[in-house]
Amino acid sequence: MNRWLFLAPVLFLVGCGQSSSDPLDKIAYGPGQHPDSFKYLLGSEPADAKDVIALRGDAKDGDAVVVVGRVGGSKQPVIKGRAAFTIVDLSLKPCNPGDEEECFDFACLGKEKVAKASAMVKFVDGQDKTLNVDAHQLLNAPQLEGQIVVVRGVAKRDETNNLTIQANQIYLRPKQVVKATESAQP
């Protein structure tokens, strides 16, 4: 029996590496998580989310909105050290088909097309100042780039009609669900 003992640590490690049956468990209760993340992370996807392009067209300053988009639009869509990032409309197709998670800058589409399908999402404090914590850490998402998110918040428009969403809550759509949903689309 002793000769099988050496396998114990291996089996233990394999057990640790298996993903939880509910991906939300990992998102909401992962190790090293920021203490404030529970305030923002949603356990289920909000209904009636609008696409980024649609929201850019009709959202007014101060409107309560729910938007769905992909974290992307540039090589570094997440601002380093800030709880802020850009999202792009889900209709933007990656440069290489099937490369949704890796291709999030959509560089091949041209900056004008990307800009027209982009919005900024930021988490702010009481004085409307962006939180000085990296969004990866706040949302316990080491690979936020390319992630589909559903954001609930307040729309802010500036004089040049740019759209910023001051987020109250966010839902990170699990990646395996993303693939299943997208493959079901025509």
Binding site: Q76, A84, K111, N162
Partner: protein, 388 residues
Amino acid sequence: MILFRLLPWEYGVRNLFRRPGRSVLTLGALTLVVLLVFVVVGFVRGLETSLAVSGDPRVVLVHSLGASETVEYSSIPMGHAAEVWSTSWVQRRYDTTYASPELYLGTRMQTEADDQPTLGLARGVKPAALLVRRQVQIVEGRWPEAGEVLVGRLAAVKLGRSDDALAIGKTIQFENRTWKVSGKFAAQGSAFESEIWCPLEDLQQAMKRQDISVLALTLAPGATAADLDEFCKERVNLEVEATAETAYYASLQKHYGPVRWLAWLMVFLIAGAGVFAGLNTMYGAVVGRVRELATLQTLGFLRRAIALSLVQEGTLLAAAASLTAALLALLFINGLAIRFTMGAFVLRIDSVALAVGCGTGLILGMVGALPPALRAMRLPVVDGLKAV
């Protein structure tokens, strides 16, 4: 602690002079090997230093979306750039904004003596560039006026020409214009030194462009690159993003990562070849001294003491070779300019290069002497004494 009687130190030293021809040849071979190591390490250090000193932690580069690694393809309308430099995160002093709008490109250039143009780097700048690019110093001549250029210390090297080709008063042609050299600048070994700077408006007119490639900004006290990045990303209509200059050059360093690894591999290969050369020489030296080594054993010296003496000889030769190579490297290689795709840089024999080169030399001496010494010690004493 050594528990056996060693051969006298002088014995090993004197042995080197007993066969001066062989010693000089070995010294020459080792010097050459260590010198090659110095050249490769100097190349890596020069490239690393050039990119490292180019980034100023207080400077942020604003460029068009998706051009974070290729600013020469970036294009920002002047109006958009003005919106960015008017923010409170940019340093201001006495009504002067520390903002440098620049048009940067690689273009074909032809000096007076050239038949064929070659690829050079041009940067259209305003005088504010000197406020933002703090490492730049005019070392000769003056700031360029209309139709003039200020050339970097290594611009001639980048073009593959002698310094005289870009002396003050000489002319150079690019973008269908003839430009007169008004001065020279140094930039602490940074990448700017291989560029040619001219007035921004002149370059825009020559290229029939009204935009700029990049906006370099000095951060106001307390501001961070993230502040500007957030501003740029929030103003989606500007179609620009901000990158800390240090991050920009760090990303370039990443591009040259394979080159650096290749260079280090060359160091190992050269050192490996050096070890084999050393081994060969030391084998020859030991084989010719089998009788002498056997005699030392009969006199009562232990085999390991004799082996240690042989290693001492090898190490002494290698140390002398390392010092000679270091001297040659400092005199003839240090500061030698090299062209590469992004511009030019100088080979740098700095403390790291000296440590690596001399360390490699000493290891060569020690490792190269060990196997022949051990082999010689395996021969029975009687056979050794009878050896011719």
